[in-house]
Symmetry: C2
Subunit: 211 residues, 2 copies
């Protein structure tokens, strides 16, 4: 029997280190797939279509939602974001775990979906608000108004920390990375994640009866 892959959801306010951590996890385990979100927002400098996001029109996005092809979707500011279902379904059917970098709205939708029993949800908190603010400013991309809007969105995100399986404060990237690896490794050891156990027990039964 083929193992069904896990849906590993990583949420956090922007500036808490999530992207760096996601990158480290992918380096740690190359079998891990990354769910590329679809979005209606315009690409930023350097962003690659199909790698950073699938950049789509609002009409195309809404058509995918209507066709039930989005695992989750949400509107953030003036844009839509969503996780296309097809690639995720293909990966987990092959037994590969899929990493999602999505917000609390998406996390809630996936946690209530038909795939909920395969979900592992993790929230990463920043050490402090001044530190979060500093990290948002240090990107040097945004004006004061945009940064304030992001701070408000960050707080909205933080206020939903409570619905996640695991929550950790990212004081130290190396420590947080190790914790994430421990959590994913443990989840893979769950009885429900090891279909081979059933055949092992059947072998034991045959051996017991044949004594």
């Amino acid at each position: 029997m083929q193992r069904r892959g896990l849906l590993i959801i990583l949420s956090s306010p922007s500036g808490a280190g999530k992207s760096t951590l996601a990158g480290r996890l992918r380096k740690w385990d190359e079998s891990l797939r990354f769910s590329v979100s679809a979005t209606t927002r315009a690409p930023r400098a350097g962003e690659v279509d199909g790698k950073d996001y699938f950049f789509v029109t609002t009409a195309a996005f809404q058509a995918q939602v209507a066709a039930g092809e989005m695992l989750e979707h949400a509107r953030v500011f003036d844009n839509y974001y969503g996780s296309p279902k097809g690639p995720v379904q293909a990966a987990i059917n092959e037994g590969r775990d899929v990493l999602f970098d999505i917000d609390w709205q998406g996390a809630q939708q996936i946690s209530k979906s038909a795939l909920s029993e395969h979900v592992l949800s993790i929230f990463i908190l920043p050490p402090s608000i001044p530190e979060l603010h500093r990290r948002l400013i240090s990107r040097g991309q945004d004006d004061a108004e945009t940064i304030e809007r992001r701070m408000q969105k960050s707080w909205d995100e933080i206020s939903h920390w409570d619905g996640y399986d695991y929550v950790m404060v990212n004081d130290d990237l190396d420590v947080t990375e190790e914790r994430l690896k421990t959590i994913i490794s443990a989840e893979r050891l769950r009885a429900s994640q090891q279909p081979d156990l059933m055949s092992h027990v059947r072998n034991l039964q045959a051996q017991f009866e044949d004594r």
Copy 2:
């Protein structure tokens, strides 16, 4: 707020390596408490009262059960076994995790008790029945009839593998030890196991409002 300790249940047929593994876990983490079972069976050579078991009379055992002082109890062959509630309650109230070396009947009782949300249950399967048989014989303590009775009990135990959170085949003690450490470490990172998170989020909120 004080963290509530975990109840870590380790079950397996005898001969699957459980006692060795429990010993290694206690060496790994000295804060781990071990739940000493009460039993009505006679002490074997070398067994120490209060360390290996609490050796009690049947009347005393039944009085403890009647007084609700046993977290779980079961009859195995002609003897009673049970886990006294007092020491466990004291340890978990102090935030210490408690390791239980109990069978499936006890595991089911604790998993259905008021403490169920703090339970982490792990089942250890032997690599094969001939190997299990060999390990039972190699103790050199028991006659053929006793060994056969233990084999029957072992199979009864194995047949209940399915109700545990985690199940693993003990092919290699070092690998199994690492897996147990990973599982316990991950469980300690669960949001529900970290009462400090709540005050961290309160601090973040105060910082956000004070900007």
